[in-house]
């Protein structure tokens, strides 16, 4: 919970957190090492100095540190776990629904745990999706289209095999499809960060919400265009928001473009924890004002209303969370207080 200087309480839902194991013991190969090292470079590059972690903590921080960083030191009230399996790089997977669910078991009202699917798994993958739905009552999936699987270096949402999975999502009531649009790898000769496949899927499946994580960076320009065309496409601020510290002027331009093109009802806060921590992200975001030159340019404002929507109301709407009821629940179960 964040309290403004006026004493107003702002309920915060972190749309993008991880509980990963990038430790040496879990590595399968050099790619696994390079993957966690690359994450660490993002962390080191964009975090304020006082929030830099030693590499050992970063490799595997564990449940208690995560709870502390999100809800005790940080201002998150709830967080959505987005799994990233990466089983070709890590023995037990990098960040799995199963591991996330153990965490939710300890703090049931704090976490929303999403599932994942991979269309390359065919029939077995559909069965697995049924199982995830039944066992964990998932309302969303995280898709990592760049994930390596044997000889395949990824897939696109427009691939024919993906349709059946979206149909199954509709049937199971899994409404939120979070798509990681960051460094994809195959096909190698295309623009590897193409977001056009989200456009196809969003048009075909109007009942599903497509949350483009990282707003399609590094193709923000293309993403804005697609999101404007489709009513069911959202932008997740993970990776974009940390620029607020090192490059506030870029952040100002990017958030104003997002507000202009996709609007304040379709932008979701996400810390991308453990890459970055909610404490400093939220403090800086709440204190942030668009420079006049930028708001004059786009004609948009980052108002308190917009901030509240981005920080929690939009995610609450997508995940059916009644904020007043949830506040009560957290208070009753002592999960708002310092543990």
């Amino acid at each position: 919970m964040y309290r403004t200087t006026d004493g107003e309480e702002i309920f915060i839902i972190d749309g993008h957190v991880h509980l990963w194991d990038g430790s040496k013991a879990n590595l399968k190969n050099v790619h696994g090492q390079q993957f966690i090292d690359c994450f660490y470079a993002y962390h080191s590059n964009l975090s304020p100095k006082e929030y830099l972690w030693p590499k050992e903590k970063f490799d595997k921080y564990g449940e208690e540190a995560m709870y502390e960083d999100l809800f005790v030191k940080g201002y998150d009230d709830m967080a959505i776990c987005q799994p990233t399996y990466l089983t070709d790089f890590y023995k037990n997977g990098f960040n799995t629904t199963e591991a996330n669910y153990v965490l939710k078991g300890k703090y049931p009202h704090r976490f929303i745990v999403n599932g994942a699917f991979d269309p390359r798994d065919g029939e077995a993958g559909l069965d697995r999706l049924d199982e995830l739905s039944e066992k964990y009552k998932i309302q969303g999936v995280k898709l990592y289209t760049a994930e390596w699987r044997g000889d395949s270096k990824g897939y696109k949402l427009s691939d024919p095999g993906v349709q059946r999975y979206f149909e199954r999502c509709e049937k199971l009531g899994i409404k939120n499809v979070h798509v990681h649009k960051g460094p994809t790898i195959l096909p190698l000769n295309r623009d590897a960060f193409d977001v056009a496949d989200v456009d196809d899927a969003a048009t075909s499946f109007q009942n599903l919400n497509f949350i483009v994580e990282h707003c399609g960076l590094p193709r923000l320009d293309d993403f804005c265009w697609i999101a404007t065309q489709e009513t069911n496409v959202y932008g997740g601020l993970a990776v974009v928001l940390p620029f607020i510290h090192t490059r506030p002027e870029y952040f100002a331009h990017v958030i104003s473009e997002l507000l202009f093109w996709i609007g304040e009802d379709k932008i979701l806060y996400g810390s991308d924890y453990g890459i970055w921590s909610p404490k400093w992200l939220i403090e800086k975001f709440m204190a942030f004002e668009l420079p006049e030159s930028v708001s004059k340019e786009t004609g948009v404002q980052l108002t308190m209303t917009a901030k509240k929507k981005i920080l929690g109301l939009n995610a609450a709407r997508l995940y059916g969370i009644d904020i007043d009821a949830q506040k009560k629940l957290l208070a009753e179960t002592q999960q708002t207080a310092t543990v």
Partner: protein
């Protein structure tokens, strides 16, 4: 080595660096030398050249990595005295494949086979050349409009007239940079200087809306550039790259400079 030979070797190395400066990261529209990607140039007595380069992450897109490696080879090979050119990409997931493919003079398609999906790399190159064109055009037009030029007059200029347009040094640089990319859309010297990405004339009455739309391209590229430079510095240390923070047309800076005038 005689003193003369030593001087010749130094000169040749400088010539190679100068050639490499013309090679750009297609995504960022910035020189690979300014970005700090090139780490070393070696020239031997026989005129063989070895260029070493690196990228901000192990995962940087293979297509762009290949394009840069191949462009470096071609740029250096254009020097008359150059023998064999070896380009060495380090610490990248496809380093070996790219290095071997470029050394053998193979195409991207031949280097990666099925993984490249049978499409032309040149199309990707063109997509990013168009983005570079748009970004440079936006920076120039914004600058000129902010300096009192009338939209209707500007949009009438031919390529030759734009090249001769009197301006201050910032303006001259923006004009030169724009004209460098103008041929991406296809042009003769007597053609209109400012056209859209399809070569159509621009409408003076809607110029501000047009520029606003283009600005997304610039914001995106600036953002990527900041991220790439930061990741490179984190990976290899801040002291390893050239300390050129903002050499090309920086969207944010060019706007704020213009506004403060």
């Amino acid at each position: 080595m005689t003193i003369m030979a030593a001087i010749a070797a130094v000169d040749r190395t400088a010539e190679v660096w100068a050639r490499l400066e013309s090679v750009i990261d297609p995504e960022l529209d910035e020189s690979v030398t300014e970005l700090g990607f090139v780490t070393g140039v070696e020239v031997d007595a026989g005129g063989d050249v070895k260029v070493d380069f690196r990228l901000p992450t192990y995962w940087c897109a293979a297509n762009f990595a290949f394009l840069m490696a191949d462009d470096m080879r071609i740029a250096v090979a254009a020097l008359p005295w150059v023998g064999r050119v070896t380009v060495g990409l380090g610490e990248h997931m496809y380093a070996d494949k790219i290095n071997h493919g470029v050394a053998a003079g193979h195409s991207f398609q031949a280097t990666f086979g099925d993984e490249a999906n049978g499409e032309e790399l040149e199309e990707v190159r063109r997509i990013f050349m168009v983005k570079a064109f748009q970004r440079r055009q936006e920076a120039l037009l914004t600058y000129l409009l902010d300096h009192g030029h009338e939209p209707a007059v500007l949009l009438q200029l031919t390529v030759v007239e734009l090249a001769a347009l009197p301006s201050d040094s910032d303006g001259r640089r923006l004009i030169a940079r724009y004209l460098e990319r103008r041929p991406v859309i296809g042009s003769d010297a007597d053609e209109t200087a400012f056209v859209d990405q399809d070569g159509a004339l621009l409408n003076a009455a809607q110029i501000h809306a047009y520029l606003r739309a283009l600005r997304r391209v610039g914001v995106n590229a600036e953002f990527n550039s900041a991220l790439c430079r930061g990741l490179l510095a984190t990976r290899y240390g801040t002291e390893c790259g050239p300390q050129v923070e903002v050499k090309p047309v920086h969207f944010v800076r060019s706007i704020s400079t213009a506004r403060s005038n």
